[in-house]
Structures are given as C-alpha cells and as structure tokens.
Assembly symmetry: C2
C-alpha cells in the first residue's frame, strides 16, 4: 500500500487542474469556458496551465477519458462473479448512477460535451463508449435469451436506458431526489419490468451493494507532455 499509490507532485497538480477544469466546463460548457476561467478557478497562471496539457482539446479529452475509464473499470470489478442477467443489469445501472452522483461535474462533461471533442481524441473516447455500450447490449441479450424478454428492439432498449440515466444530470436535485442507491433501484425496476415478461420482479430493487465506492486504483498514467513524449 505504498509503492503503487505514489503520485508525483506534478501528477497531483494535474489532477487538481483537471478537477477545476471539469467544474468550469460543467458550469459554462466547453466552448463557453475559457482557459482564463480555468486559470482563475485553479489558481494556476494562464501560461502555467500549458505546462500540464498542450491544448484545450487535450484537456477535455483527459477529463472524458478519465471519467469513462473509471466508470468502466469499476463496473467490470463489480460485475465479477455475478451471473444473473437481472442482477448484472441492476449493477450496471447502480454503478453508472453512483459515479454520476458522486462526480457530477465530470459526468456532465462526459454526457454533454461528447461532440465538443475533436478528431484525434474523439475516436479514442468513442472506443470506450462503444465497449460500454456493447457490454450493456450483451447483458440485455442474456436477459432476453434466458428469461424471454418482450419483443423489444435491443438497440432501442439499451439506448433508452442510457438516455434515462444520462439525462439525470439535467434534473437531479439532492434536496428532493433520492440518493444513488434508491434512484438506481427505481430505474432498474422501471427498466426491467418494462422490458421483460413479468415473472421475476424481485431482482430489480434489491442489489447486493457490491463495493459502493467508485475509487480508481490506477497508478502512473498522467505524464507531463513536454518531456513525456509521444
């Protein structure tokens, strides 16, 4: 618990910048936010920022890539050993919403600024997104194959589910809305009942709560671009 968790000082500062940048992008939108806004928010001088990333686009990429990787990584860890398709889908929903409510700014940047990312970076994030979508589709097909779901277009079912989840950032209000666990339970119930022939409706609400934290155990990784090189 000592060697793997070491972060260089510059790595920690990059994280610091990424966090503030996500907040600013979430509040003003990627195009509406200026590097000067991020400089003000993070208390790093304007030119100083460019020591840690090479362009505004790369900054957006780093935020999106990190967020998506965290979600997918944590999901795969939570899915390990669970066989029931109902439970696997419930876990996917729970995991997604856990991250969204724990990292609202990063999540909003992920959902709302997907098109703002330009081409060398865009395909990289799109690739992770595709893996995530394929995983969901797989689970849905197990669900449909095993229990026998209603004759619903799987693509629409899965993308409808993602819509339900991803839209949360536009309306979620911690003062009136339930915590992640209950919210995920409700959505899982809605989706599973909506999509399946009614026979086992108990699996949706109660998820065995496998590792509620969404911490990422990545080591190394972020590197200063000046000398890190291609």
């Amino acid at each position: 618990m000592a060697a793997a968790t070491t972060l260089r000082k510059s790595d920690r500062k990059l994280q610091h910048i990424l966090w503030h940048a996500a907040e600013v992008f979430a509040e003003k939108g990627f195009e509406g936010a200026s590097i000067r806004d991020i400089s003000r928010s993070s208390r790093v001088s304007l030119s100083g920022l460019y020591y840690y990333f090479e362009s505004k686009q790369k900054l957006l990429y780093l935020i999106q890539y990190h967020a998506f990787s965290s979600i997918l990584e944590e999901l795969q860890s939570r899915l390990a050993g669970v066989a029931s398709p109902e439970q696997r889908l419930a876990i996917l929903i729970q995991n997604h919403l856990d991250y969204f409510l724990q990292h609202p700014a990063e999540s909003k940047v992920l959902s709302h600024e997907a098109e703002a990312l330009e081409e060398p970076y865009r395909r990289e994030v799109a690739a992770i997104k595709r893996r995530y979508y394929q995983l969901a589709l797989e689970i849905y097909r197990e669900l449909a194959g095993a229990g026998g779901a209603r004759s619903i277009n799987p693509r629409i079912a899965v993308l409808g589910l993602f819509g339900m989840i991803n839209w949360v950032y536009t309306w979620y209000n911690p003062k009136v809305d339930p915590r992640a666990k209950e919210l995920a339970g409700t959505m899982a119930q809605m989706f599973l009942n909506g999509v399946m022939n009614g026979h086992s409706s108990g699996a949706a609400a109660g998820t065995k709560s496998a590792a509620s934290g969404a911490g990422s155990g990545k080591s190394g990784g972020s590197r200063v671009h000046k000398n890190g090189g291609r």
Copy 2:
C-alpha cells in the same frame, strides 16, 4: 384558408434565418457557433442579420420558444377527446418523437442548449417546459390512480421518460433505426409496462395515429424588433 396564413416577406425571411441558425447551432453548439457562421449558412450579411433579431441570445430564444410551443400546441390538439391515461401517455410520447425526428436541429437546440440561454429569456422557456412537465405528471398520476401503478416515484418516472426521449438526438440514425411511429411504440411499451402492474399491455403499441403532421397554425407572431418593441 387565405387570411390567417399570410406571412409578410420579412416574417418569411426571419423563419429562413431561424431555420439556418438552428442547423448551425445544432452542428457546432450555441457557443461554438458564430454569427458569421449563420450569416454564411443563411446567405444574409453579418450586419443584415441584426435587422431581424437583436442579439445571439434572442436568436436562441426564438428557436427554443418556437420549437417548444409547437410541441406543446400540437400535443394539446392531439390529446383532445382522449380519456384513457394509457393512450394519453402514448400520444405524448408519439407527439414528442414525431417532432424530434421531423425537426432534428431545432430539437437538438432545445435539448442541448437549455443552459446556454440567459436570464430574461431563460425563465420564459422554463415556464413552458414546466407546463409540459406538469402535463406529463398529471397523465402519469391518472395512470397510477386508475390502473394502479407500481410504487414508483412519479417525478423519477416522468423525468426518466423524458430522458429516454430527449436522449434520442444523440444516437438516432435513420438508416438503422425505426421511424417515429415504431420508435414511439417501443418506448411507450417499455415505459408503460415498466411502470404499471401488468394487466393491459395492448394499449401501448397501437396509437390511433391522430394527425401525424406537426404543423403549427400560428399567425402573426414574429415581428421585426426595430419598430415592433416598446
């Protein structure tokens, strides 16, 4: 059919500009799009545009207001005379998706640029949005009261439904995805079955297709700001 449909030449040109502006905003985002982009796309000179609207914000407002009014107006017309909550909800979904797939640019601007609108205009659009939400909530409560829905938080049910629908603009591909009618049928089926105790599952898929066009019969309305206002 003659007097009410007359549009002044300047009104038609404003519509022309609004259409191109919606296309540009949809493609590049509100902040990412420049007035010069709209000038290029609409073939109206840069300064010429300001004869028809007074600011970029007002332009965004006009697009959003017009789109939302069309949806709500058409919905109320389609709902007239329909009593069954299931059918009313199916009509809402159908109507929303009809508009979204027939006016993709305006829809995207409506869904994606809600936060880009600033304060005098923002509350006006928010007011229509609230009416729309309340109408959906009303229908949902009729549904829950009458047939007896599962114990699902109504707010989350309705906002989840809106998420499913509003997210469509991020993935819809006319080459592989079904037309509005079938898409709406699938989503209505998912939502109704997901939310209700399974007893009448027939009402979801088949909507009686009441007036498929989403044309607005508004007259007058848009006015050149130079001499029209206070």
